[in-house]
Amino acid sequence: MATTAAAPSAFPSPFSIETPAGCEGWEEMYPYYAVFDERRRDTDENRFWFWNSMHFPFPVPAFDVLCIDSPYQAVGSWQNRVFAVPPAMGIDYRIVNGYVYISGNPVTDPAKISERAEFFQARAGHYYANWSELYAMWRAKMEALIAELGDLKVPELPEYEPDEVAFGEDRNTAFYEVLTAYGRALRLGDLMWQNHFEFLLLGYGAYGTFAELCKTHLPDIPDQHIAQMVAGIDVLLFKPDAELRRLAGLALQMGVDAAFASGRTPAEIDAELEQSEAGRSWLAELEKVKDPWFNMATGDGLYHYYRSWLDDPRIPYASLTGHIDALRQGASVERPTAELARERERLAQEYGALLDPGTRQAFDELLALSRTVFPYVEEHKFYCDYWFLTRWWNKVREFGELLKLHGFLDDAEDIFQLTRHEVATALDELVLTWATGGVALGPKHWPPIVEVRKQLLQRMAEWTPPPALGTTPEVVTDPMTIMLWGVTTERVREWAGQEEGGLVLRGAAASPGLVEGIARVISSVDEITEVQDGEILVCGSTSPAWAPIFPKLRATVTDVGGVMSHAAIVAREYRLPAVVGTGRATAVIRTGQTIRVDGASGVVTVLEP
């Protein structure tokens, strides 16, 4: 067995992590290549791995691994093989006790770097030069993809094939149709992830360059001001909440607001509204906005259990109730878009005027470029992570129904406990035995596996992953790691310092304000409705989809995230103090503790141990 002495590091070796009691055998539900394996120890142990808690705050169910594989296949394809970012190839991932750790692959050979630079300049240059046209094409592509997903039928397995198969031309039998539909569903997911990353890197890069210029010449500029100068005002992601605000006003005008009494479920509210003519008209108005605006996810979308507002209306209904309460108290619930737009221009003008003429020119050009690319940076989330992905999980659920119907699963939802390859295998046996009329083993084979994995996921959720593993890097240079995850040299040092424990957490100052309050630690999106007025939300990462509950909060604290994240911008608009990227707030802080959040300095203090 090849072993290498681990370099002294503030972080544990990935090979030293023990399997928590009750989690034995967890590796079995993940691909062989997705775990730390002795055969790759030499390289894996001497790398820096950080927990991607921004995208994977919880243990990953077997099927959801597609949302690890596919994104990293896609991001690496664009970054490494299409644009050939000079110093960085793609991002590797490994799973430890169900949690996802990632590490970038650097390019170190100077000759290779300059070879790649030529590709990058030509190809990225083309994208920057034609951004708006390319992005218009991208939106059309995404809408077509979502439409195709909607049209994709999960075939039934009839006792007798219909007459067309016998008498028509070029007809396929159901065994082929089922396998084809499943394969197509997987490929549509891959296509979405491919689209997801087409512009992302370049978008963040333009923004990051602008931010760097600002910080060089205006060293103390709050990160939020940089984001404010760039962020769009009237962007897609604000539409769902804007529609809810409008509907809240309408409910008052139509005199149906009493239905939104606190403590009622969406179904109870609907039932009361159905009682009156006005209530029914209001529901008809609601129906009109649901497509597409209720295709928001209840979380950041990478887990199958983040349903859309269509599937789980608790968040939009809580938000409607909140807006109605505010309106009753005479508050305005309109987003002051004109004022925000004026402030955005004022900031740009005033900061620009402080710079020398040479810098001013670069500032103006980079700001213009950043504003050109930013709609994509903001809107891809709605198209990909919310709209497409929530519908795609539902399509997978349809295959779950098929397997349940034939006894392969006890519950359609159990399909997510199988890997996508196991589902293919199960479908293979299903269509085989449907065709042959033989006895299927699946009903005896799969349910026990599902049970074991449900238990494993529960046990693994109780384990707290360290923020990083492996060698502590002297400097973090990978542009993606820095731009997308906010994992900088400084952040790694802070994490290393925190390894000893302690009641002070440091992160990025995302939205200013100093407050104290009771912490509410959220480890699952289901708990989001438990948040009480005036609490401080502590979570893996906040999603802009959670913005409607922001008015209830006193502050937010996250494990991972950067100040340019949309959630940070929204927090700022709600004047909600926020500290993001603390590394392990959810591990250190417990619900009910009193904590202090300083959104201006990025410090979170646990006051009550």
């Binding site: 790649r116 300049q121 240059g125 890069g205 360059t209 205006l218």
Partner: protein, 319 residues
Amino acid sequence: MSPAAGAGYGRALSELTGADAASFGGKSAALGELLTAGMRVPPGFALSREAFTLARDEGAMPAVVREQIALHYAALEQQTGTREPPVAVRSSAVGEDSATATFAGQQQTLLWVRGVDAICDAVQICWDSLFSAEAVAYRRHLADTDDPAMGVAIQLMVDAAVSGVLFTCNPLSGDPSMVAINASWGLGLAVVGGEVTPDDYLISKVTGELVRERVGTKTLQYVPDPAGSGVKRSAVPEDRAAARCLDDDALAALLDVARATERHFGCRQDVEWAIARSGSPPENVFVVQSRPVTTAATPAPAAPVSAISLVMAKFGAKP
């Protein structure tokens, strides 16, 4: 001698402009500029270098200069409705407070001076300070004058609850979008003399938000001597020493002062200010001195390059 004949020696601060710096010194001229610009500056008057030269030649306080002091001081008495109001007497050396050398602290300041006799004595101390060992050495290093001369500014005292210094940039990082404020209890001596760790505030000039704040330990303060003239040092009670000494209104008023001063002079300023015990911001916030910042770091101006080449460099694709 008629008052007009002595106008070359003494002048109300409000009548001075930048052009008078050669005669009255930079400090007095700057205060004149600020008054003209409508800033809240305690009124007062100034003595010219000619007054200094005359005194040097006569070897004592010339009668014509003393007459000017009495005349302008009487105007202050009238203006305030107070007999013998306390004033600050500060040197305003010609060549001082230029953009390259501040002479900060090299010259004399006498606080809470009352009555014409006491003012004349204080002026004489200022004049003498021009030949202190420190001032001579400083001039040798940083200023190119063989013929040093001295103006004097005499300005109504603000009975300060809080005072301090502000920079219209962050002097440490050079960030021009920030206003850095140091503040402590009582008169400004404690802050400029470095005798306390003042409260330290960094405010965005663009949005007015408090970007950073560090509350200092302000264990002592200077207050008017109860005996009637001069100042004395006193201890600050523990709880007050660690308390924030500026509230949001005061910070907002100082931010306005910073913006207006910088706009008026067209360059970064280092401003001494005081907040009077009576009244409330912004009415009780006074500028007592303003001079160009000489020491702040300045980020190197960027060579004019295209935005795209900067983005390329960000990805490690240097052109």
